[in-house]
């Protein structure tokens, strides 16, 4: 297996006046090609900071990120990033939003229109292709964002608590859909969540983060695939792993 992302001794500080807020300190992690890695941690443990650095949106104070062997300097279309907040362009319809990454990549109009329509159907928004983001519910906007990110054609995907604000049914539907997409495409996915069950259901590997991005536990998840969200939750191994992860999180809080 080859490493897609290598994170080496990453530190990120935010300077304000004479005080620096340290969000991440000496963080190292390697993500293998084609794996689904979930990063589990409580709010404020530097998960989002880490993803911002991985995506290239922000620059580390110290350390570096290697993307396919070369240090990476800024955002690239090779890495897709589904941020926590919605960043659909409010003046574009869903259709035109999903077309946008392909527009920037310079793909011809008929081709990107067809591709976007298909992606929109995949996330179940076919009837709302002509709606503007403000006319959609939060969950629908999330699905539109997902479609837009997939339109990027990136093979490495970063997701920051993408399903956090959705209702339980929709969340498990989208989880199932995400797993299906991942199995079909062999993408590499780094999925950040604060939900222990979600981390277990999705990941090949769960990395539990403590304060300042300290790695508390790096656990292989040997649950059989394909994993059905409803059945996997009652698997004895799932229950066992669940307890391990929760213990690790609690220990992190005590430190």
């Amino acid at each position: 297996m080859t490493a897609v992302l290598e994170i080496e001794h990453l530190t990120k500080e935010f300077q304000r006046g004479d005080v620096a807020t340290v969000a991440l300190r000496d963080f190292s992690l390697t993500i293998e090609q084609g794996t689904f890695v979930t990063v589990l941690g409580r709010s404020g443990c530097g998960k989002s900071t880490m993803l911002n650095l991985l995506s290239g949106l922000s620059k580390p104070t110290n350390g570096r990120v290697l993307h396919r062997g070369s240090p990476h300097t800024g955002p690239t279309p090779g890495i897709g990033y589904l941020t926590q907040s919605d960043t659909l362009m409010p003046w574009r319809t869903v259709q035109r939003n999903v077309e946008m990454p392909m527009e920037i990549a310079g793909r011809p109009k008929p081709e990107r229109q067809a591709a976007a329509a298909e992606l929109i159907a995949t996330v179940g928004l076919a009837d709302f292709a002509d709606s503007y983001p403000r006319e959609l519910s939060g969950g629908m906007r999330r699905r539109a964002s997902l479609a837009r990110m997939l339109a990027n054609g990136a093979e490495t995907i970063l997701m920051d608590e993408p399903f956090g604000a959705l209702d339980a049914q929709l969340r498990s539907e989208l989880q199932r859909e995400l797993l299906r997409l991942w199995t079909a495409t062999g993408h590499t996915i780094v999925f950040v969540t604060h939900d222990v069950e979600e981390a277990l259901l999705l990941g090949d590997r769960v990395v539990v983060l403590g304060p300042l991005g300290a790695i508390l536990l790096d656990q292989e998840i040997d649950l059989p695939r394909p994993r059905d969200p409803d059945e996997t939750k009652i698997h004895p191994r799932f229950v066992e792993l669940h307890a391990t992860l929760v213990r690790a999180l609690k220990e992190g809080a005590r430190r």
Binding site: M89, R92, I104, A121, G153, L174
Partner: protein, 284 residues
């Protein structure tokens, strides 16, 4: 891109939950009822005002001061028939339109360009605010020295008034652009040019539209002040001339024409704004 093709190979539909769109035919009254009510009430209010105005002439000591709708109408008609109105109105229209367009174009361009570069904006912002604070009327004598008393001076006075309002609103719009949207385009591999054209430009549109709307009266003020200060043509001159002859009906008649002009401009800008703001929420 190969991953892309595979992604689309097996689309599975996620069940659509949430609102659904259905066809609903509405009756004529359902579609236009509110508009009809609003317009009827507007006409009624206007008529009531005109009647009260007409009656006021019988109450006040000297009817000359308040004039009356009938007298204003007669004056207007006299000016229309002898061609006075069209000559002077045309002059003012030219001044207002040219001044407005020049002010809007330069203001929007300057606002977009300056606000896009943080350093430049930080350097020039206090100067712009200082210049904005100058009452433009105070510049009229200077403009007469520079450009004479012809139409140029009024156009420039109008343009300067419009420029600052459009500039400030556009700049505010550019600076208010959601950081997340810019990051989203960077993540798509977009260049600085993509960010400027696909994010900053559309996002600053609402600021620009506000600028367009609030600056309409200032275009009129600029042109009319210019005419009042020094001119022998235009509606401002007509007002001055009528007032000098104690012809209040004449003053009111010229003001009515100015009002009509402002409303036409408002309607044009409103149409542009609603086209640009289609994406805004339905009931805002």
């Amino acid at each position: 891109m190969s991953g892309q093709a595979e992604t689309r190979a097996a689309p599975v539909q996620v069940s659509a939950s949430g609102p659904v769109k259905e066809a609903r035919r509405r009756s004529w009254w359902g579609k236009h009822g509110r508009t009809t009510t609003v317009w009827s009430l507007r006409v009624a209010a206007l008529l009531a005002f005109l009647v009260l105005w007409q009656l006021a002439g019988n109450v006040v000591a000297n009817p000359m001061f308040v004039s009356s709708p009938v007298a204003v109408w007669e004056q207007l008609w006299a000016w229309v028939t002898d061609g006075t109105l069209s000559t002077h109105t045309w002059i003012t229209i030219q001044e207002v339109a040219l001044g407005y367009v020049i002010g809007v174009l330069t203001g929007a361009l300057a606002g977009f360009a300056l606000a896009s570069v943080r350093l430049i904006y930080d350097v020039f912002e206090p100067f712009m605010m200082a210049l904005y604070s100058i009452p433009k009327v105070a510049l009229a004598p200077l403009f007469i020295v520079w450009f004479g008393i012809g139409i140029d001076m009024k156009v420039i006075l109008a343009a300067v008034s419009v420029f600052f309002l459009v500039f400030l609103n556009t700049a505010a719009g550019v600076r208010d652009v959601d950081r997340g949207l810019i990051d989203a385009v960077r993540l798509m591999g977009g260049s600085t040019r993509d960010i400027a054209l696909k994010v900053v430009l559309p996002a600053s549109m609402s600021g620009l539209m506000t600028g367009l709307k609030v600056s309409i009266p200032y275009a009129l003020i600029g042109a009319v002040i210019g005419e009042l200060v020094a001119s022998n043509r235009g509606l401002g001159y007509l007002i001055n001339d009528a007032a000098a002859q104690f012809n209040t009906a004449g003053v009111f008649a010229a003001v009515v024409v100015l009002t009509a002009l402002a409303m036409v401009l408002n309607a044009v800008v409103g149409a542009i704004a609603s086209r640009a703001n289609r994406w805004k929420p339905l009931d805002a």
